[in-house]
Structures are given as C-alpha cells and as structure tokens.
Symmetry: C2
C-alpha cells in the first residue's frame, strides 16, 4: 500500500553499486560476460546509475581485474556508467576507454586512510587532487566517496566535524557529489540527521549529498528514512545486498536495492525502478555467486518459487 | 555514538516476545527447562516485559504445549510475565496458575480471523469479550494483539479505518494496550505514521499503542523510527529475531530485540536493557534451535568469536 509521508523528496535517485562495491567484496570470482550482463540487467530494470567497476590495481582487488574488458563488452549506455578510479593511473586507464563519470574513494579517518590508501588523512587530498582536476577539465562527473563517516573499526566514533572537513575538501577540489558512507554499519538515525545538518550549516547543498548505508547492524533503512527527512535524495544500494560483508555467509553488508525500493515505493517516492526485475536479477546473480541473496525482500519474494 | 534526535520519547518499553511468538514459530521443539532459562536470562538482561508462553490448545501450537509446566519452573518474577490466552478456556488455565497479565490475539482482517480464529471479524469480539471481562474483573492487565494491520496475504492492503475499528472495539471491551502488528512485514513508514495518527484522531491515547513489526521485507526498523516520531513508546521484539518466519532458513521474521536496542541506544533512548546480555542469550538459544540467529546485529557481534 502506498502511503506518502509529508516532508520527503518526491523522487529519489538510486545509485547502484552492486557490480563494483558488491562484487569486489564477494569471494567468488565472476566471469566478465556475467558481469556485463549484470550491468545490462540493472540498467534495464530502470536503475538510473550503475557503477560498473573499478580501475584499481588487480593486486588489491583481483575480483575487478577485468575492468577494461568489462567496459569493452558494454554498449553505449553501459559505457556511460561511472567507474571508480583510485588515482591518476586509474584515471588514465578510464579516460582511454572514454568513460564520462568517475568516483574516488576517500576516508574520513586517518587510520582507514593509512590502511586503505597508504597515506594520512591529509595526504589523501594531494593524491586525489591531480586526478580530480584532470577529470573535471575533461568534463567528467566526479563523485567522492567518504568512507567511515559514522564509526571506524580502529578509531571508534568519528567526529561529525571531521567528516564535514573531509567532505568539504573533496567538494572544493572539484567533486560534484559526496557519498557519505557508514562503512561498518554502526550509525543510527539521530547521527544521520546531525551529519546532514552539519553539512548544510557548512554551506553544502543537500543535492550534493548521497548516503551510502550498510545493513551490518540492521540499521540501513531507518538511517535512510532519517536522511530522507533531512532532504537527501540520492542513495547508494547494492542489488540483492551483495558485497560489503565478506566475513559471514548470508550476513548483510550493503543495503539491498530491493529493500530500499520497497520502502521508497511504499512512501510514494518515484525511483523509475522495476522492483520485480531487480529481484530477478539478484536471484540470477545469487546463483553465479553460489550463495543466497542477503536481501530480506529477495528472500521473502522468492522463497516459494 | 549516541546522537539523540528531537521529538522522540526519552524512554521506550521493549515488550519481548521471543519465548512465545518466537518459539511458537520455530520448527525445533525446545525443552521446557531451556525455555524457563530463556525467560530468566531475558529478564536478567533488563527486558521489562517478557511474554512467557501461550495457553492455546496443544493441537494448534505443539511448540508451547508445556505452558503450565513452564510457568511452574519460573520464580515470582517469571510468573509475573504475561501469557497469551486464546479464549475463556485458556484464561481458566492461566488464572489457576496465578498469572497477572494476559494477551489476546485478534485480527484486523476477516480472512485471517477465519483462518486463525475460525470466526468472522465481528464474531471475534464475542469470543474475546467474556475472557477480557473476567480478566479485568480479576484485575489482570489485558493486551490485545491486532494482527495483519498493514497487509494480509489474502486480502492485500488493509484499510486503516478497519484497523482503527478493530482496535477501538478491543479497547472498549477493556484491553489496556493494543499491539498493532505488521504480521507479514510489508508496511512502510508513511503507512505507520498514518495508522498512528488515525488512532489518535479516534481518541486513543498514544500510550495505549504498541507496535509489532516484522522484518520480512527489511522494513521493521524504519517503521519503528516512524512510530517513534509518532510518539509510540512500546515496541515488540524477539531476542535474536527468532520466529515469525518458519519458511526459510536464516530469513528474518520478528524484529530482533538486539537490532531495536542498537537503534534506540544510538538515539539516546533509555531501555534498561543490557545489549551484550541479550546477544549472549540469543547466541545460546540459537544453539538450541540449531540455526544461526537471523539478527543482523547478533551476527555482526558474534562472527569473530
């Protein structure tokens, strides 16, 4: 039943991260043609943005070592998909293939910057700057992920003003959009509200903010609802909830696109997404991954079939 | 990190339904002494109300056929726990054992009334009335569950005014509290807000409302957050998320107490509950049930141990 709630956006953009953030955290290596078909099916299901892959060095993420081959298998719509680039070298590879949208992956904490980027919180800006500058000169859209915005496994709670500082630096550098990630899934709705308000107080337009929630502690959708009330209208999600939690079978990591779509459509918010097609795509991908989808909704809708 | 959100209750009462609603929907039969220990551990973890069992005929729910024996194993605090009674005969059995709080289980839809209670929507009131009247004369607290408040597997969407009608009839009969159940888990936050507002417009005090969400479609916590914003301060939950979904292994049914406590404590809302003790209790019960806890939080906190 569709029952709108006052004060929410009329339309939400779902930024699909399954092929990149999802598959890079799955143990099973997926064939390149299957990945291409995954991207095609997600686009056909009405998802407006599908992040296709990452041009990170294969040593770090062997799951996505076939990034260039994958892009070659996609048609024009597929080649318009954003890709993640870790640095200038990744940007060079992406530019050669004619990509039009890139994403960079920053950290809100010093410890995660050191562990994931091998640099300090401050040094990451110098690392990203030339890539962002060149991408913007080439008229590419640049999305900046900010990871560990709510909690960090080593540092614990992350100060909101530190997240705002990192986000502002990345916007000032030229990023068009921030994706604020609760990478370990520990955030709760009041924290979400406070973080969004803090960005607005710092002069950031809410249209530049996307939220990236993980369901590791079951909190992703309540946090999404808080962010909707705060005016955010772009949300990251992963078809079938794949990725994000490589440690435990069937445990949840990334917010599942289907669970998000169910809530949004129930609220009367338009997404352009065909829920049945996403469920079918996730069920198909679950077979390739050899494990059931972690999405509550996919399980509910497919358990009798 | 604790970050309050304005406009929410300072304190929430968690009504623990694991021993009754949880175990009655688990395939595994649990030993009576283990059930008694489950109730004791939940009370020791600070849960203020633990529904202990159901005095329904063993033919319908063999899992709880030992209701009287279970009550005999509990100490004074355990014997203060509410129990479900389906009718006058169940009330008789409960009164003999000295229980002080009962719950009845009504339906918001005609089809579910026929399937679960073997009577029409209207006939259920005549069935419950003598039991509720006698219970109130004996100074017992009476909670009335209203099931299928959001959707029904046979009827689809359930009109909000029909739910208000059923709830009002049960309150007028003498029930102290309504537990409004999303039995199949399909509701979304705008629907929750609208249902609560409709009860208030009908003259019901929000303090008489409890919400009972299922996580089958992943929506339970966002619906909880909407209900908190609507002023509700009593929520049903099941330790470890047991029960509520007997069809698929590891799929989610009842909202897990732990996932609820994490959100409430993150919002700075007091519950009196020791989260670690509930997680430990759910892990212990999961061994007896022979399946992993469906709670996201229990999995996240126990996967490395």
């Amino acid at each position: 039943m569709v029952v709108p709630q006052s004060g929410l956006p009329e339309r939400v953009t779902i930024y699909e991260v399954g092929p990149r953030d999802g598959l890079q955290n799955e143990k099973t290596l997926v064939n390149t043609e299957v990945k291409a078909e995954f991207v095609r099916r997600l686009l056909a299901a009405g998802l407006p943005i599908v992040e296709a892959t990452s041009f990170v060095h294969p040593r770090w993420i062997p799951q996505l070592a076939d990034a260039a081959d994958l892009m070659g298998l996609l048609d024009a719509a597929g080649r318009d998909c954003p890709v993640l680039v870790p640095n200038e070298r990744g940007l060079d590879r992406a530019l050669e293939l004619g990509v039009k949208k890139i994403a960079i992956f920053g950290s809100a904490t010093d410890t995660f910057a050191k562990r994931n980027l091998n640099c300090t919180l401050e040094e990451q800006f110098a690392m990203f700057e030339p890539a962002v500058k060149r991408a913007r000169e080439a008229e590419l859209d640049v999305r900046a992920y900010v990871s560990m915005c709510f909690g960090d496994p080593w540092e614990g709670a992350v100060p909101v003003q530190q997240v705002v500082y990192v986000g502002k630096r990345l916007l000032d550098m030229g990023a068009n959009q921030l994706s604020l990630g609760d990478t370990i899934g520990v955030g709760t709705p009041g924290h979400v509200t406070h973080l969004i308000e803090s960005f607005l107080e710092a002069g950031v337009d809410v249209a530049q903010l996307a939220m990236h929630f993980h369901d590791t502690y079951g909190q992703a959708l309540s946090n999404t609802f808080a962010a909707l009330l705060g005016g955010v209208s772009t949300f990251d999600a992963s078809a079938g909830g794949i990725g994000g939690c490589p440690f435990a079978e069937s445990a949840t990591g990334n917010l599942a696109t289907e669970d998000l779509v169910w809530m949004l459509h129930g609220l009367g918010i338009q997404t352009g997404v065909d829920l049945g097609q996403v469920v079918a795509t996730s069920s198909w991908m679950a077979e390739h991954l050899g494990r059931p989808s972690p999405s509550a909704l996919v399980r509910a809708l497919t358990r009798t079939s």
